[in-house]
């Protein structure tokens, strides 16, 4: 029994002995993805900010609406 367990332990230790290295690789990758996500989020927030959108709108020739039309009564229908 002891012999079997000892063998099993040796086998398990042998099989997971390299997982530390794999773990480091996975953790490094994970950190890299997190970093990339943060950079993308920063870019997204900057691009979708109202300050940025207003600047872009001006560049494309949009102007602020100075007047509004409210349709409060039904419009007359054309007969002919």
């Amino acid at each position: 029994m002891i012999f079997t367990l000892a063998l099993a332990r040796v086998a398990i230790v042998n099989s997971i002995s390299t997982t530390g290295e794999e773990l480091v690789t996975i953790q490094t990758e994970l950190e890299e993805y997190k970093r990339k996500n943060e950079i993308l989020k920063e870019k997204y927030l900057q691009e979708s900010s109202l300050i940025h959108l207003e600047e872009k709108a001006e560049k494309f020739g949009f102007v602020e609406a100075k007047s509004q039309i409210n349709l409060s009564a039904p419009l007359p229908l054309a007969r002919n």
Binding site: E38, K41, E42, L45, S48, S49
Partner: protein, 568 residues
């Protein structure tokens, strides 16, 4: 034989006792020390810093987030040619070559010297691509403001405490610092003999809790528009400063709050610390005529008068304890009704109301409207000036208080008091944060809170109609959005200077809400010492209506009357 047997037995017992004592010493007395020693040999304790929570507007946009930044350092011992090194780093770090060379030569015996505290990711990548020996980077997080200095005074900023840790100051960052900060933790990474981490024993103890996110009532579009219009208004009227806030009167949620002059939270240390305060909650002023609807409401709520009650002392100036109380334009209307008193902002009519009310009832209603009390808004730094003690009130004080002089309030106090008029008599607690998101994804909603009910719903309706009349027929009717029923009241308060009022310096204001029949917004605009005109009707009122037009359009609220009906 017996003694030998006993001696051997005793000796064994003694040895056994010593072993037990020794075991006790190592396993109990010095246990903690040995555990630490062991951990140091096979593991590494790392401190887990938390990420500060974000602040989001009502549309879930992070108005305050965190961004990745780097500290650039160098090991001077690995630097061979200092001049070439400095030449290549200088344009990227935006530091003069001579300065970099000097830092490197002064610290040539050291292993670590910081070159620049903060660079962004792009710069870091460009420096890394140079493959210079000895250059390294330390990752850190900085507060990031995608909308720039928008609502800076509402948000506050993050600085350092005495231990060099991040700490929120002023506004939301100050008030919710503990929630935003979270709780730092530690983790032990167990490694094998070659230094590689062991999978099964990773992160033994982690107690890290990331900061919570705040979701605000603030509407980003309204905030942006209010900032822009207020800034324009201050310039147009040549004012020293100004402030404004928009509230949802039904919930007390602050939809926008702005004040100028302001500062940039990204470089707060470059500004005077006087600019850090949010004057809407920290500055006091005499509210002037904006207080009249509240005093009138108190008298109507007590059935002392009706909108049609006539003022029998309004034919000319009123004498009170040897002082003469005049109207703002020195024009008088005999027997004017209470509706006309509010419409003309008649001080003598308010003295009439004050006489009916009496001091005790007036002070009682001031308390009910929260004058002299903190509103409980969730922003750091709120103050509330106390009302004078009962015994310090004289007849003239009662008279002037009815038209908002000789009494001070903060703008948030006044705005909160008016929520009672706009919300069927219920005074709401003002709140900036609508909900809190925990790092586990749970959402804690902050429900609206009714502070009290100073006046009945019927009184609130009557005062609303009087305020609608004041807008439709008052001095600033030209600026009103056509076709809408807006309730409002102007205010012009002189500034007390060395025991008297300066006739040329005023604080003008306008408080109002709309649409009057189903208020969607309540707003107070205060302009500090405008130079183009000293009157609220010519400064604060047009600015109020300008903002109101934008709010009505943004909410898609149609007018109730056409322009021709309005003119009739």
């Amino acid at each position: 034989m017996t003694w030998r047997y006993r001696f051997a037995l005793g000796l064994f017992f003694l040895l056994f006792f010593f072993v037990v004592c020794r075991l006790f010493y190592w396993q109990v007395v010095r246990a903690q020390e040995l555990v630490s020693l062991g951990k140091a040999q096979y593991g590494k304790e790392v401190s887990l810093t938390t990420e500060r929570g974000e602040i989001k507007t009502a549309d879930d946009f992070s108005i305050v987030a965190n961004k990745l930044a780097y500290l650039v350092y160098v090991n001077p011992r690995l630097v061979k040619e200092r001049d070439t090194y400095a030449e290549r780093l200088s344009p990227l770090l935006e530091i003069e070559e001579a300065t970099i060379s000097a830092v490197l030569s002064e610290n040539k015996e050291k292993y670590w010297v910081a070159l620049k505290q903060t660079v962004d990711n792009k710069t870091k990548e460009r420096i890394a691509n140079l493959n210079l020996p000895g250059v390294g980077f330390e990752e850190k997080r900085l507060r990031f403001y995608p909308e720039g200095s928008l609502s800076a005074k509402l948000l506050g900023f993050v600085g350092k405490d005495d231990y060099g840790e991040d700490k929120g100051y002023f506004g939301l960052e100050g008030y919710y610092d503990k929630q935003l900060r979270g709780k730092a933790g530690t983790a032990t990474i167990i490694h094998d003999a070659s230094g590689q981490p062991i999978l099964a024993k990773m992160n033994e103890s982690v107690h890290k809790i990331d900061g919570r996110n705040l979701v605000l009532h603030i509407d980003r579009t309204l905030q942006y528009m209010l900032d822009r219009e207020l800034k324009k208004g201050i310039e147009t009227y040549g004012a020293v400063g100004g402030m404004a806030a928009i509230m949802n009167p039904k919930t007390g949620g602050i939809l926008a709050m702005s004040s100028f002059p302001s500062y940039d939270p990204r470089s707060y240390h470059e500004y005077s610390d006087k600019l850090y305060r949010n004057p809407f909650i920290t500055d006091t002023y005499e509210p002037g005529s904006t207080l009249k609807p509240l005093v009138m409401g108190s008298a109507i709520n007590l059935d002392l008068l009706t909108p049609d009650t006539q003022c029998d002392i309004c034919a000319g100036p009123v004498s009170v304890s040897g002082y003469e109380v005049k109207t703002w334009n020195d024009k008088y209307t005999a027997n004017s009704t209470m509706t006309e008193v509010i419409q003309h902002s008649d001080n003598t009519g308010m003295v009439f109301v004050g006489r009916l009310l009496g001091l005790d009832r007036l002070l009682g209603y001031f308390n009910k409207f929260g004058i002299g009390e903190m509103t409980g808004i969730d922003l750091q730094g709120e103050i509330a000036p106390d009302l004078r003690p009962r015994d310090d009130w004289y007849a003239i004080d009662l008279a002037t208080a009815t038209f908002g002089q000789g009494i001070t309030v903060t703008p948030i106090e006044l705005l909160t008091a008016f929520s009672a008029i706009a919300n069927g008599g219920n005074r709401m607690e003002p709140h900036v944060v609508a909900s809190v998101e925990t790092s586990e994804g749970d959402i804690i909603n902050i429900p609206p809170k009714v502070l009290n009910k100073p006046v009945s719903a019927q009184t609130a309706r009557i005062i609303t109609e009087m305020m609608v009349n004041a807008v439709d027929k008052g001095e600033s009717k030209w600026a009103k959005p056509k076709g809408y029923r807006i309730a409002g009241k102007t205010g012009t308060a002189q500034i007390p200077v060395a025991g008297h009022y300066d006739p040329n310096k005023t604080i003008t204001s306008f408080v109002g809400f709309g649409p009057a029949d189903d208020p969607q917004f309540l707003m107070l605009v205060v302009i500090d010492r405008p130079s183009s005109s000293i009157y609220g009707s010519e400064t604060a009122a047009p600015l109020f209506f300008n903002v109101a037009k934008h709010v009505l359009a943004y909410y898609g609220i149609p007018p109730t009357k056409s322009e021709s009906e309005e003119e009739e």
